[in-house]
Symmetry: C2
Subunit: 128 residues, 2 copies
DNA sequence: CCTATAGTTCGCAACATACGAACTTATGAA
DNA sequence: TTCATAAGTTCGTATGTTGCGAACTATAGG
């Protein structure tokens, strides 16, 4: 097992960040980590929103986030503690992560709104 | 040749935007289009920053931008006029594109700063 | 109709991604 | 110590995506 490598802040690129967050699973992991008041292990994400994500896939996603500079991981015994580097990134690219997060949540809300009328329509069809 | 398709604003996704702009060539095309006071053809990008990008590759990049909802393309005779849809996207995801653009330009400046000392060092070495 | 020009599509090679199986490392019990 | 277990990583492979040359399509102007 090769040691964990984290890019220095100067080596973090916008393209890397955008690419890492353009994957829905990684984006979900990232925002969840950024909301968590304490560090989080990988296995905490084995089940995400009803989807069961294989361990190996998760491991790759964490590596992608780490290599993009979005998170910092450190071994703690048998498990791994992951924390976001958002303060650092905010320093280098002010406003970037908040803007992306805001957009994601707008989209998330819009999807909920979309789902509502459909469910109502289905119910109406059933009762008719 | 299948007709040009543009997603409706509701179908534009954050992941799609991030993915489209995570490619340096597409990002460059996009920002250049957004700076252009008028619409721009594809062939205007055949030579970008000393790099010569093949026509077919360019065509794919334009398609990617179009399908992500970032640009609108319309035939005008034998060529294609491309315009950004940034006003629409700003409406749906306020602040997203400006934040990304700002980050890109910060990175661009940082790279220039990085290049300077090197060139100076090289000159010093030559004169020594 | 012929030719030139701007883009698109096709086909293939190179690269990236997902995931099961096998492996490594740390922990705790016997 | 030795064994079992748990958390992650790495490997192999199947599947998907991307880049680019060659062939194609569509339009404008002789």
């Amino acid at each position: 097992m090769r040691p964990l490598t984290h890019p220095s802040l100067d080596d973090v690129t916008v393209e890397g960040i955008l690419h890492a967050l353009s994957d829905p699973v990684r984006a979900a992991i990232y925002w969840q980590l950024s909301c968590a008041d304490s560090a989080n292990t990988c296995s905490a994400f084995l089940k995400m929103e009803d989807r069961c994500i294989p361990k190996s896939t998760l491991s790759q996603h964490f590596r992608a986030l780490r290599e993009a500079g979005l998170i910092r991981s450190e071994r703690r015994g048998v498990e791994m503690l992951n924390t976001t580097r958002c303060a650092e990134i905010e320093q280098r690219f002010p406003g970037l992560l908040p803007a992306i997060k805001n957009a994601q949540s707008i989209q998330c809300e819009a999807r909920k709104q979309d789902a509502e009328p459909k469910r109502a329509a289905t119910q109406a069809a059933h009762s008719a």
